[in-house]
Structures are given as structure tokens and as C-alpha cells.
């Protein structure tokens, strides 16, 4: 019997029992184990298989409960296992309207990244199985999240398991990438870019990282952290990014009726009166400098100097490459 069938048999058996099944009963009666028991498989091999199956099912979100000996909770020899129906199933009183399903269907289609796309589809399938007929799908809208960073999937997995990650991070201007150890707390898309927000063990504080600057594979360590640290992390990350944008406002001179004017004026905020130019908030000096460089002579950075220098150095480097390319 293939392992997936053994797993499903195990779920059916554990859900059908109120008082729980002992390991012994499971190994000798649940189809998938029973045949191997009958064929004389070694007991400890079967027990290992059962332990693995339990872990895999918990990974799928199946709530397997262990009922130990009341006198000695650490003694698992007589432990019983069960899956409480109420915790396994979607709550009985949860219902979705056709309008809600239409919005969720739109929401489920935004992902290009494989594991999130598959997750959204599986979630939708479970909800649709509640037996709702979709009336009118929302057509004509195609919201999409671009996600090209390979670091996203391992970071997401590490967050789910509350495990510390480590990776090489390239800060612009640094000669060498630096190894960071981070408790990953939230992944945030802000202004079209993905950020990791987490507790940075190297500096002992929460920090925000751009996924595009992660220069190595993300290593998910075996070190766990307190999941409570994740509570409200998304809000803290957003507040942090917005505060930075609030504080950093470039003063720019923009030629009228150009691409730069069209793109930048939308984002401008009021500056001091009688100031020449527009004030545009930005989060990351390097990212903003990339954009401003593309506008060439359409925009001139007045301040800050750091941004101006970053734009000038990009243009100078571009000039060199273009002169070189013959």
C-alpha cells in the first residue's frame, strides 16, 4: 500500500475514535501498518514509520492529539492518539457567500510563486467544498504579486515553524556580503518589493531586509524561537517602512511634461512654501537612485547629498559602459 493511503487510513482511524487508539492497536489494525505487521516487519521499524507519519500529518495541519498516562504524562508507552473532529474540520458555522467566494477566487489567483499559488488553490478548494455555487466571477481584474526571489519559500517555511534563518546579505557599498542570523517574523510587499522583517541576532533588534539583497541560499536552522514574537510583526514592519518614508523626502527638480514628471508628481508631498522643486518620500536610497537615474536629464536631485551622489555614480558608470560597448 502506497504511503499516502496509509496516511489517509490513519486519519480516518484517528478521527473515528473518541477515546483514542494505542500505538499497538494502530500498528496491528490500521491498513498500511497491519499488512506489514502481519508480514513480520520489525516492531521498531513500524514505530519509526508511525512517528514519521504523525509528523508529516501534523505538517499538513492534521491535529493529532496524544493522550498520555494521567499519573505520568511523560510515559508514552500507553499513550492514545486521536484527531479531534472539531479541530480538524472547518468550523460547522462558517459559511461563505457567493460574493465572498468571488473575491476569494480573485485573491487566490495573485500568486506566481509555486508554493503560495498551490496553497491558495488548495485553500479555495477546501472552502468551495462547503458547497457554495459561485454566481458571478469578478472578471476584468488581474491583480498579481511578482515574486522572483528564491529566498521567499524558505523564509515562509521558517516563519511557519518559528525557526531562525541565516543568509548572506549584501548591503550596497559593502565590499563583502555579511552573514546574518535572523528570527523571521513577517514578509512584506511594499512599493512592489518584498521585504523580510525579523529580529536580527547580530544587532539585537528588529530589522528590515530587501529580499533582492539576499546573496545566498537561506539556511533554515534547527533553532526555534518563541512564536509569540510573530504577533503583530506585519504591522510593526509596515509602520517602520512608513516612518522611514515619512522621514526621508528628497528634493527634486523635475522638467515639466516628461516621464519623470508623470511618475514622480503623483508621489510628491507638500514641502515648505516658496521651495523650488518637489518633495518625494522614499524608503531605500539605492532603490530610489536606480529609478531617478533612469530619468536622465528629466530630474535633478537637489538633496539629500547621499541620494544625489548615488544617482551621479550610476550615470557615470552607465556612461563608462556605453562608451566601452563598441
Amino acid at each position: 500500500m502506497p504511503p499516502e493511503e496509509r496516511l489517509v487510513n490513519l486519519v480516518v482511524a484517528l478521527m473515528a475514535t473518541e477515546q483514542g487508539l494505542t500505538k499497538d492497536t494502530i500498528l496491528t489494525s490500521v491498513s498500511g501498518y497491519r499488512e506489514q505487521s502481519d508480514a513480520g516487519a520489525k516492531r521498531d521499524a513500524l514505530e519509526k514509520m508511525f512517528e514519521r507519519d504523525k509528523e508529516n500529518l501534523r505538517g499538513l495541519g492534521v491535529p493529532i492529539e496524544t493522550i498520555g498516562d494521567y499519573a505520568d504524562p511523560d510515559d508514552l508507552r500507553e499513550a492514545r492518539y486521536r484527531v479531534p473532529t472539531a479541530e480538524y474540520e472547518l468550523p460547522a458555522d462558517i459559511e461563505f457567500t457567493a460574493a465572498e467566494i468571488a473575491v476569494l477566487t480573485l485573491a487566490g489567483g495573485v500568486w506566481s510563486e509555486r508554493s503560495m499559488s498551490a496553497g491558495a488553490r488548495a485553500g479555495l478548494r477546501k472552502i468551495r467544498s462547503l458547497g457554495i455555487d459561485v454566481d458571478e466571477p469578478i472578471i476584468g481584474f488581474a491583480p498579481r504579486l511578482n515574486l522572483r526571489e528564491p529566498s521567499f519559500a524558505p523564509l515562509q517555511r521558517a516563519m511557519e515553524q518559528s525557526r531562525v534563518v541565516s543568509f548572506d546579505y549584501i548591503r550596497p557599498g559593502d565590499a563583502q556580503p555579511r552573514r546574518r542570523r535572523v528570527e523571521p517574523l513577517a514578509l512584506v510587499e511594499f512599493e512592489g518589493r518584498w521585504h523580510l522583517f525579523g529580529f536580527d541576532a547580530n544587532v539585537g533588534a528588529e530589522r528590515t531586509f530587501l529580499l533582492t539583497r539576499i546573496g545566498s541560499d537561506v539556511e533554515v536552522t534547527r533553532v526555534a524561537f518563541d512564536p509569540a514574537a510573530r504577533d503583530g510583526a506585519g504591522e510593526r514592519a509596515l509602520t517602520g517602512l512608513r516612518t522611514v518614508a515619512e522621514r526621508q523626502r528628497a528634493l527634486l527638480e523635475v522638467s515639466a511634461a516628461t516621464e519623470a514628471a508623470v511618475r514622480l508628481q503623483r508621489r510628491a508631498v507638500p514641502g515648505p512654501e516658496d521651495e523650488q522643486g518637489i518633495r518625494v518620500p522614499y524608503v531605500d536610497v539605492q532603490v530610489f537612485a536606480d529609478e531617478l537615474a533612469s530619468y536622465g536629464p528629466e530630474v535633478r536631485v537637489v538633496e539629500p547629498a547621499e541620494l544625489r551622489d548615488a544617482v551621479v555614480s550610476r550615470l557615470a558608470a552607465a556612461l563608462e559602459t556605453l562608451e566601452d560597448a563598441r
Binding site: L57, L106, A107, R121, I127, L145, G234, V312, R314
Partner: protein
């Protein structure tokens, strides 16, 4: 369609979803079920057949009785390739959402909520609460902060919803302003940027408009009669475009993703070359300037000159 799942755990997850799905459907063809599960039809058929060996444990060492197992209408499957589940022994109701599933839907919802007419319907708030309650595990915080929605976005979305043409002023880079009337077919958000795809009355063809470049939109009373024509992919290169040869640093490749998708590339060292198609070779001056030295233009010479002048003029402002 995705291939069959490789991991036994993933296949088990599908089987757990299959029973409530089949109960909900009543009767469903193998092809439709396969589509809904995003697996090949033969995988779906095999999964349904194998379902019938799954069931409750045998009592006291006996093998299971027939009604202890899941069962299907075999005649219907053999004759018409249609699935009907005839006996269930559990799993009737859908499992709760996993952390991954809830996170994926919650983040998608935040983005969808920024669409005018979707977010302000009160539906989103209700959904957020229901998804939180329907999840068996605490989802990881995956947050999407949508850009503010302005009058341009609201008006264009309204035109799409009403099925009427919309008129606006459009300023494409390096081109004079034009007034366009467009039958809206699709509003897309990609990488935080908003686009309108629609049938342009002036060009008499489907066109894509970046909404940042749109101003003074006005709803018309004209029905959008061409909106149902085929809409091309968002960044699909049009035919008969300019061909440009680029030289680029490996680290600049992400900047060129949209161009490189359909390009011939060569080299695998620090510097590579690519022949790309663009609507307008002049537009590459902006790309070269943004590339900060990572993007050079090998030809045509006139594109290279345009980029050189662009970068020089940019630098001259600071000297």
C-alpha cells in the same frame, strides 16, 4: 496544469480534500475534477480508484467489511468517466486551512481589496475574520501594502465595470501627449504598478496603458464594443519591433527579466549579451541609465548614441 505531486504527504493532502469535494459536487467528470485539483486526469482517476481501499481499521484483526471502506459508482466511472462517491466512512467535511493556505489567501485578499469596488464592499473584512477562524494553524505574516488608489484608478475600474469606453490624456515616455478613447478589457496590477489593457479607438487595436501616465479620465456613454477581443499578455512583445543587442552584467539580469524572457542570450560569465525586441529602441536609454553601468548597448548605433546623450545630459546637471 501541474504534474502529479511527488511527495506522499502532498498526495495524502489531496485525498483528504477529495472526499468533501466529491460530496459537495454530487457528480463530477474526471476531467473537471482533475482541473479543480490541478493534476492530470489519469492521476485523478487513479486517486479515486484507490480511495476504495481506504477506510476504518478492521476490528479484532479482521479485514474490513465493504461498508467500512469508501466506495464509488464503478459502472459510472468505467462507462462515462464520471465520479460519484457512494459510501463514506469519515472525512466528509473539509479540513481546516493550513498556515500556508491561509497566508496565501490573506495576502491575495489584501491586494484584491485595493481594487475599487472590491475593497469597499465590506466583503473583505468579513473574509479576513472567516479565514482566521478557518485556519488550523497560525498563518505566517505575509503582508501586502497596496499603493493608494486615486481618481484615475477609480474611474478606469468604473468604466470596466459598466462596460463603457473611457477617454483620457496619455503621456507615453518620449512622445507627445495624446487623447485616447479606450474600450477597457482588463485592469492589471503587477509589481505594484497598475495597467489598463483595452481596445484603443485611435490605434484600432488592443493596447496597454500604464495608469501612472494617464490623466483626466472621463467616462463616456459609448458601450465598449471591442472589449471582448483577445487581450495579449501584459508584457508580450509586439511583432515587427526594433531589435537591439545588449551587453549586460550578470547582476543586472533581474532588471531585464521582461526583455530576456523572449530573447536570444549568449555567454555565462560576468558579462552576457542578448538580442531583444523592444517597441522603441530609444526607450533603452532609460534602461541603460538605470542599470548603473550594468547594461550596455552594442547596437544599433543610433540606440547606443541616444543612450549616451541621455546619460551625458543627466550628468551635465551636476557639473
Amino acid at each position: 496544469m501541474s504534474p502529479s505531486p511527488q511527495l506522499a504527504t502532498d498526495r495524502a493532502a489531496l485525498m483528504l480534500q477529495l472526499v468533501p469535494y466529491l460530496i459537495g459536487k454530487g457528480e463530477v467528470s474526471v476531467v473537471e475534477a482533475a482541473e479543480d485539483f490541478d493534476i492530470p486526469p489519469e492521476t485523478m482517476r487513479a486517486m479515486v480508484q484507490r480511495l476504495t481501499v481506504i477506510g476504518l481499521p478492521g476490528e479484532g484483526g479482521f479485514w474490513q467489511m465493504a461498508n467500512d471502506l469508501f466506495d464509488i459508482d464503478w459502472d459510472l466511472l468505467d462507462a462515462e468517466d464520471v465520479i460519484v462517491i457512494t459510501n463514506t466512512v469519515g472525512l466528509e467535511r473539509s479540513p481546516r486551512l493550513t498556515a500556508r493556505e491561509a497566508a496565501a489567501l490573506l495576502a491575495g485578499l489584501q491586494l484584491a481589496a485595493s481594487l475599487p469596488g472590491v475593497g469597499d464592499s465590506g466583503v473583505v473584512q468579513g473574509l479576513l475574520a472567516k479565514l482566521a477562524r478557518g485556519a488550523g494553524q497560525t498563518p505566517a505574516e505575509v503582508i501586502v501594502a497596496p499603493a493608494p488608489v486615486d481618481a484615475v484608478r477609480t474611474t478606469v475600474a468604473e468604466a470596466l465595470r459598466r462596460g463603457v469606453a473611457v477617454s483620457f490624456t496619455y503621456r507615453a515616455p518620449d512622445a507627445p501627449e495624446t487623447t485616447r478613447t479606450v474600450d477597457p478589457a482588463k485592469v492589471s496590477i503587477s509589481g505594484g504598478q497598475w495597467y489598463l489593457q483595452g481596445w484603443c479607438h485611435m490605434r484600432e487595436a488592443m493596447r496597454t496603458f500604464h495608469l501612472d501616465r494617464v490623466s483626466d479620465p472621463v467616462l463616456t456613454a459609448t458601450p465598449a464594443t471591442h472589449a471582448s477581443e483577445p487581450v495579449p499578455e501584459l508584457f508580450e512583445p509586439a511583432e515587427g519591433d526594433d531589435i537591439v543587442e545588449l551587453r549586460y552584467r550578470r547582476s543586472a539580469a533581474p532588471l531585464l527579466t521582461e526583455y530576456l524572457r523572449a530573447a536570444e542570450t549568449a555567454g555565462d560569465g560576468e558579462w552576457r549579451t542578448a538580442r531583444i525586441r523592444v517597441a522603441d529602441a530609444r526607450s533603452l536609454k532609460r534602461l541603460a541609465a538605470r542599470g548603473g553601468g550594468g547594461v550596455g548597448i552594442l547596437g544599433p548605433e543610433q540606440a547606443r548614441r541616444a543612450a549616451l546623450e541621455w546619460v551625458r545630459a543627466g550628468l551635465a546637471q551636476y557639473s
